[in-house]
Symmetry: C2
Subunit: 298 residues, 2 copies
């Protein structure tokens, strides 16, 4: 089976490497950055810079680009993959995007005789690298069946939420509400603790062993403790994803005061020039307000 | 060693039962409710209704009452325990209260020749019952040593944060910031998911296996899924505890926008008559705003 991965960033590269290891798949990667192409070729795959140059007759394409606009361009734009796909090929779209964008892309795929799985993922770069992502999928039985070998190679668990495109995207957006608020409140608690005279390392150890813990607190606060701003996921991702939460919530007429407040904190961190840093550094919004010293800072 | 537990609620009873099982301790319980006294006597302890009636020469007293006012009355009020305590006895105060209240009570203890450990706990009723609480303690070496047999019987882990009373209380307040926001955002995500057409049980299963999980999401949302309002911890507890977060934050001049927003949601649930219900039912604040149907409701 000829498969392709569009977007060889931290998530896409991890997924593509797992596809390379899976039996029976011939894997092409697509990314405009020569370094990403070279890394994937060195691992044994083939690579192109434009989706329009993917191998003719590709039967399944996994998208891990940043947003709906990039996904639409990579599939259906003038340099998009669509003309290279075999009839009845499946598009597995794992980008985080608005449910209405998932429905729009699925409709365009259907009009071209292609299958579509709305398939956002959780697990981060580490989960992608380990082939242990969680997939929140919706799509027809035919689309799910066609995508199965690809999904099996990248996920520890594939949830099938129903036939309708948009259900997967909705689930991911709700998930990101929790993820984003948990990161922001981890920063709020850590920053308040520092200001109130607690030792940040000790605070971390106590919380992670107690009922105040979250997956994000445990995963992200070590970056703050170590002063390591390298982005696993960036502040800008949550500027986008909590924006998607706000869009969905408004579309269904539902107030989300905590997500809205957390969004403002990520926007503030971006305003201060931290958009490209690890998302834990939303804590700099609190630092800017209060002048606290973070660990490892003078 | 003659020890006493003041407050035989869900936390205090659990701790008292573990003290009964510990070797070398003679345990008296104190609670105004005859049913609580009877339960503890049936388990093999002795029980009184007023702290002033505790056994003469009590060497360690554990407080698990609701707030600072109750703690002060139970120790130093006209019907308080202080006259029954042996010289050099240790007070272990495990109530959640403001750091300044912890400092005030510690000073009064010192003036009377008593030792004091500022010792708030996490772990909930289940942790108390299992003798597996996390204790966030501060106090002098002498106070910690005297309290050691008591703490060993009720805790899986005793953190010693320093000598100064108030450090334990500060840590607990910061912990409650996380706990309270995590419960409120769990409700926000669950309610948005319901409104957006997701299956709530499926949403729960996906989140608990993914990066959006928190201890509170996993522990509390089953109450919503089952429609079980029995309070393990009540909405009113977080009206109080997020109030303590606000007080501490203002005292040290630190804005906590997420905690403040979550507080308002618990206050709203209380306003609607849900103060005594399980804290997961802060979700009724969202229900009141949007008219969503919760699981198990018609």
């Amino acid at each position: 089976m000829r498969v392709a991965v569009i977007g060889l960033g931290s998530m896409g590269m991890g997924a593509a490497l797992n596809l390379l290891r899976a039996p029976g798949l011939e894997v092409a990667g697509c990314d405009p950055r020569p370094a990403a192409q070279a890394e994937f070729v060195a691992a044994g795959g083939s690579a192109v810079g434009r989706a329009a140059d993917l191998p003719e007759g590709t039967e399944a394409v996994l998208l891990l680009v940043v947003n709906a606009a990039q996904a639409a361009a990579a599939l259906f734009g003038p340099e998009g993959a669509a003309p290279r796909l075999a009839p009845g090929a499946v598009i597995v779209n794992s980008c985080t995007l608005a449910p209405e964008d998932a429905r729009r892309l699925a409709a365009e795929a259907e009009a071209r005789g292609l299958l579509y799985v709305d398939a956002p993922v959780s697990g981060g770069a580490a989960g992608a690298r380990a082939g242990q992502m969680t997939v929140m999928a919706s799509g027809s039985a035919a689309a799910m069946a066609k995508a199965a070998p690809l999904l099996a190679a990248i996920a520890k668990k594939v949830w099938h939420l129903g036939e309708a495109p948009g259900l997967g995207a909705t689930m991911k957006v709700v998930h990101q509400l929790l993820a984003g608020v948990h990161i922001a409140v981890a920063a709020e608690a850590m920053a308040l603790g520092i200001k109130a005279g607690l030792d940040p390392q000790r605070l971390f150890e106590i919380v992670t062993g107690a009922a105040g813990n979250s997956w994000m607190f445990e995963n992200r606060m070590p970056h703050v403790l170590e002063g390591d701003e390298t982005p696993r996921s960036a502040v800008d991702i949550f500027v986008k994803d909590l924006g998607l939460v706000g869009d969905l919530a408004r579309d269904v007429a539902f107030p989300t005061p905590l997500a809205a407040q957390a969004h403002q904190l990520f926007v503030a961190a971006r305003a201060q020039g931290h958009g490209g840093k690890d998302d834990a550094f939303v804590i700099r919004a609190y630092q800017a307000l209060t002048g606290i010293r973070l660990p490892k800072e003078g």
